[in-house]
């Protein structure tokens, strides 16, 4: 049995609590492990760089047969694990096979020094470029960053003399909301969707309608031309308001009209 070994200091994945360090080629591969393994790569170039490093291959003189064999072993393993394989991995497989086959062809005798004639040149160029960027990304991430390694100072300035008020855009609100949510996610899960927003919009509208009034008759809260979905949302909003003890619904006798009032007002129903 050949192992697609992954000689990392740490296991590449934990599967059911067991460290998982290599992909056995002929055995069943737990798809979870394969998936975690694949997710640790940013794409075929990243996987190739990993194989080159792992086998201490010379990136400037890549043994194509060996690299292609190993790369294909992973691709096959992914196939067998029935994992959805990103198209980029298959494209790269084709590129590797093409280069390998071109290398088998007899080389022209003239001007062998010309790098363009090496079928590997383009792949090499891409690998070097990607490796540089990968390194640069890691270095950029390590630079001291505002808000992380240091904080920008800003002291309070009272009422600006020009009397200009800060401007806010809808985008600012969205940003702030995303901030709030991403933070809230650490503590608890807030489920907020488009639908809930519209229910809450209706809740606000109803509260505003009830404000300053002793009561409003139930059906008056439904506009005559409201579409069915709007009416349903409106109704859900009323139920939600009742559930949150924000409004009261009362009725003087069975089948009499329903009256809605703010929970804080003392309702005296018309007799």
């Amino acid at each position: 049995m050949e192992l697609l070994e992954v000689p990392l200091a740490e296991p590449i994945a934990m599967v059911r609590g067991e460290p998982f360090v290599g992909l056995p080629q002929d055995l069943y591969i737990p798809p979870e492990a394969l998936e975690v393994f694949l997710e640790s790569f940013e794409g075929p170039l990243d996987l190739l760089l990993y194989l080159i490093r792992k086998n201490s291959l010379d990136i400037l003189d890549i043994p194509m047969a060996e690299l292609t064999r190993q790369y294909m072993a992973y691709v096959d393993a992914m196939h067998r694990g029935r994992l959805e394989l990103a198209a980029e991995y298959l494209v790269m497989a084709a590129v590797l096979i093409e280069i390998k086959s071109r290398m088998l062809l007899p080389r022209p005798v003239v001007a062998p020094a010309d790098e363009d004639l090496d079928p590997r040149a383009e792949l090499m160029r891409r690998l070097l470029e990607y490796e540089r960027i990968k390194q640069a990304a890691a270095t950029l991430d390590e630079l001291p960053r505002a808000g992380r390694e240091f904080v920008v100072v800003q002291t309070w300035v009272d009422e600006n003399p020009g009397g200009r008020l800060p401007q806010v855009t809808a985008h600012d609100l969205q940003e702030a909301w995303v901030q709030v949510l991403s933070r809230a996610r650490i503590n608890q899960h807030h489920r907020i969707s488009r639908e809930q927003l519209s229910v809450r919009v209706h809740m606000t509208r109803i509260l505003r309608r009830l404000r300053g009034q002793k009561f409003v008759v139930f059906h008056e809260l439904f506009e005559n031309d409201a579409t069915v979905p709007v009416a349903v949302v409106n109704f859900i909003a009323i139920l939600e308001l009742v559930k949150e003890s924000l409004i009261k619904v009362s009725q003087s006798e069975a089948c009499a009209p329903l009256y809605l009032s703010l929970a804080e007002t003392i309702t005296e129903l018309p007799s």
Binding site: V151, V157, T169, L173, A184, N187, R200
Partner: protein, 185 residues
């Protein structure tokens, strides 16, 4: 806990940096957390008094306001400083923006709801800012102990941000997929 004489300058430096970099006033109770082991309120208070003295001759002062301590520009210098970027409009603090966002997306909400979602206390001044701007109003009260006020946004807000209805608020695209929040700061 009290503080050995030799550690006073370092403690003041830390307090100064923390206060200068905080967008909101910081209470003594919070400032005590800066230190490990924690200092007593009295010691922190004394250090703040000393800092305040040291800043006396400058154009920025350390002051105590309702919700804590903060550095602020002395009024006498404000006009000159305002010349700096006349074209740049002032910005609301993050607390104000986030509170507004919560009220916009989750209305009607009480101050308690906002605090629960933000995970920190909401200063009364934040809500006052939004109310005096006419962007937020009290819609009613929740019938629970304390009868907290319920806040909602106004049509003035919609006008000011060029929306016709709250439904036009930008939906929550999952920006967060590419950003996670690290466990340790």
């Amino acid at each position: 806990m009290s503080l050995p004489e030799s550690e006073i300058p370092a403690a003041k430096q830390l307090l100064e940096a923390a206060l200068l970099s905080s967008p909101e006033p910081v209470s003594i109770a919070q400032l005590r957390h800066l230190f490990e082991p924690g200092l007593s309120s009295d010691v922190v208070r004394r250090l703040l008094d000393e800092l305040q003295q040291e800043w006396q001759p400058r154009a920025v002062e350390l002051v105590q306001v309702a919700s804590g301590w903060r550095f602020q520009t002395r009024p006498a210098f404000q006009e000159q400083i305002a010349r700096l970027n006349p074209e740049k409009p002032p910005r609301y603090s993050r607390a104000v923006l986030e509170t507004l966002a919560i009220i916009a997306y989750r209305q009607p909400v009480t101050r308690g709801d906002i605090e629960e979602i933000r995970g920190v206390a909401v200063a009364a001044s934040v809500l006052r800012t939004l109310e005096s701007r006419g962007w937020v109003e009290v819609l009613g009260h929740r019938e629970v102990p304390g009868r907290p006020a319920l806040y909602g946004t106004t049509s003035t807000l919609l006008d000011d941000i060029n929306l016709r209805s709250l439904q036009e608020l930008p939906p929550l695209t999952l920006l967060t997929d590419d950003v996670t929040h690290s466990e340790t700061a």
